[in-house]
């Protein structure tokens, strides 16, 4: 063996490579097991392109006349649900986010409690939240708004808590040294530093909520989804296509708006 061999450079250690290999192998095994046991009728898969083509054919021509009479109001309702729901989420997420930031609240039990709320909020899908709140409040936009609010707490609260944990500790130390009460320290030390991230999160979540509030109507929580559901059940495919197109346009516009505002803030 030459001396040079002992200087051989390796990107990853043996155990790192073993771990990576184990991950890929695990995924491959899981995939093959899934493929064998999942119940798929192959004929349906082969038939899919024809069926999809047929769907598109039935969607054409689009019934644009339906927009002013049936869609516009529902679309506005969707936007209001998204916005009001996001505002609701913020009101609820700020205290929960503060509880979850371990550099502000030093009680692990409270941190943990906050994390539990945040994880539950994120784990339950918006449609499931919508079902729950339709059961509570009855069908309509109130259920949708509360659903969007609860669904967003997890996202907003988690990112807000992270922003709070990342603030520069120097000013906090200075305010502590001046004898300021904790709420003043929060207002003048933490908040100014975390505010840009907070508004960024708000915009980001609003963008997501526009998408989500467009579908929660499928289970009765108000907005454009309810109109879509009706059109689907009645097989009015040329109305479905207009509804889908208007959702697409609104979602794209919302994204453009958010990008433009974020550029101006940052």
């Amino acid at each position: 063996m030459s001396q040079a061999a002992s200087y051989k450079w390796e990107r990853f250690t043996f155990s790192e490579r073993l771990a990576r290999f184990a991950v890929f192998l695990g995924f491959a095994i899981a995939l093959s097991l899934s493929m064998r046991s999942v119940q798929i009728i192959p004929e349906f898969l082969y038939d899919a392109p024809t069926q999809v083509a047929d769907l598109f054919k039935r969607m054409w021509p689009m019934d644009f006349a339906y927009y002013p009479e049936g869609i516009h109001h529902a679309m506005m309702e969707t936007l209001h649900i998204a916005t009001l729901g996001t505002l609701l989420a913020i009101v609820m997420a700020i205290p929960i986010g503060v509880l979850g930031a371990n550099n502000i609240v030093h009680f692990p039990l409270l941190n943990w409690f906050s994390k539990l709320i945040l994880v539950s909020s994120r784990s339950v899908n918006s449609l499931v939240w919508a079902l729950l709140f339709v059961a509570v409040f009855g069908p309509g936009p109130l259920a949708g708004t509360v659903c969007i609010g609860f669904r967003s707490i997890g996202f907003v609260g988690k990112l807000f808590a992270e922003a709070l944990e990342e603030v520069d500790p120097g000013p906090i130390e200075a305010l502590t040294a001046s004898g300021a009460p904790w709420f003043s320290i929060f207002l003048k030390g933490y908040w100014p530093q975390a505010a840009p991230a907070f508004w960024g999160v708000f915009l980001f979540r609003w963008d997501i909520n526009v998408r989500e509030s467009a579908v929660i109507g499928l289970v009765g929580a108000g907005g454009i989804g309810m109109v879509l559901d009706t059109a689907l059940n009645l097989f009015f495919w040329n109305r479905v296509s207009v509804i889908l197109l208007s959702i697409f346009v609104v979602v794209i516009l919302a994204e453009l708006l958010v990008t433009a505002i974020r550029k101006r803030i940052i």
């Binding site: 120097g170 000013p171 130390e173 305010l175 502590t176 001046s178 004898g179 300021a180 003048k188 530093q193």
Partner: protein, 264 residues
């Protein structure tokens, strides 16, 4: 500059920092500060010198309990603050102004608001929130900003200032507390030599003007000699030297910092 502890005799509560047998261990059995005792009182500016990592920063933070000492006592103007917690500790901290190496301003707030942050210990939170500070505080803050030459920057954001200007704001914030004592943790380390001298001048003159004893951590021996009336040399967690700068010899410095080549 004349310094005489007795000249302040008229005011009954003598403004002072008194440190008594102070020790600090982060890890059990490995003390970073060993049995430190000294007193600073009246119109006096005292420098703590020593190599980095010797516990200067820890010592100064033990004074206002930003870092709780392991044992020993700290008295501010005669009041033992070592065992205070919660509201009592906050009340005690109001009496201790502090200036930081990295200025520690809230960058996204205006200069004025940063200066008024020194009043947060006195002003209820809801007033701070609505920025309804007492008019008296605002007048004082303006006067102070004028005296340190930053009046025109009052409404600008703190992150638009240069390092020296920021440190002036940091000092003004500490003075706004109307403190009994002033602590400064390496106030010039992030600044260029000329600005460092200006900041030291400002600290010493404000300390004299407002009659506040001043305790400065500083690693620059020349600045310490030039601006303070007493030097405390710290090494390996203990006091090596405590006396006027004129009597601080190279032998002392060798003992404090170790080695000697750097002295030539």
């Amino acid at each position: 500059m004349t310094v005489d502890a007795q000249s302040d005799g008229s005011a009954p509560p003598q403004r002072s920092i008194c440190i008594e047998n102070l020790s600090k261990e982060y890890v059990r059995g490995k003390p970073i500060l060993k049995n430190i005792s000294f007193t600073v009182q009246g119109q006096s500016s005292v420098a703590i010198i020593g190599p980095s990592g010797t516990g200067k920063s820890t010592l100064i933070r033990c004074v206002n309990k930003l870092i709780p000492p392991t044992s020993g006592n700290v008295y501010i103007s005669g009041e033992n603050i070592t065992h205070l917690t919660g509201r009592d500790l906050r009340m005690a901290r109001r009496k201790i102004g502090m200036v930081f190496q990295e200025f520690n301003l809230v960058e996204r707030l205006s200069v004025m608001e940063n200066v008024l942050c020194g009043r947060l210990g006195y002003v209820p939170s809801w007033r701070a929130w609505l920025r309804k500070y007492p008019q008296n505080d605002i007048d004082n803050a303006f006067a102070l900003l004028e005296s340190i030459g930053l009046l025109e920057f009052a409404r600008q954001r703190a992150d638009s200032l240069s390092g020296g200007q920021r440190q002036r704001v940091g000092i003004a914030r500490a003075i706004m507390q109307e403190p009994h004592v002033l602590l400064a943790d390496e106030p010039t380390s992030s600044l260029d030599p000329k600005t460092s001298v200006e900041i030291m001048e400002l600290l010493v003159s404000l300390s004299g003007e407002h009659d506040i004893p001043l305790l400065i951590n500083i690693h620059d021996v020349e600045l310490a000699r030039r601006f303070t009336v007493r030097v405390i040399g710290l090494s390996k967690g203990g006091i090596i030297y405590d006396g006027p700068p004129s009597e601080l010899t190279n032998d002392h410095l060798k003992q404090i910092y170790g080695g000697e080549n750097w002295l030539q």
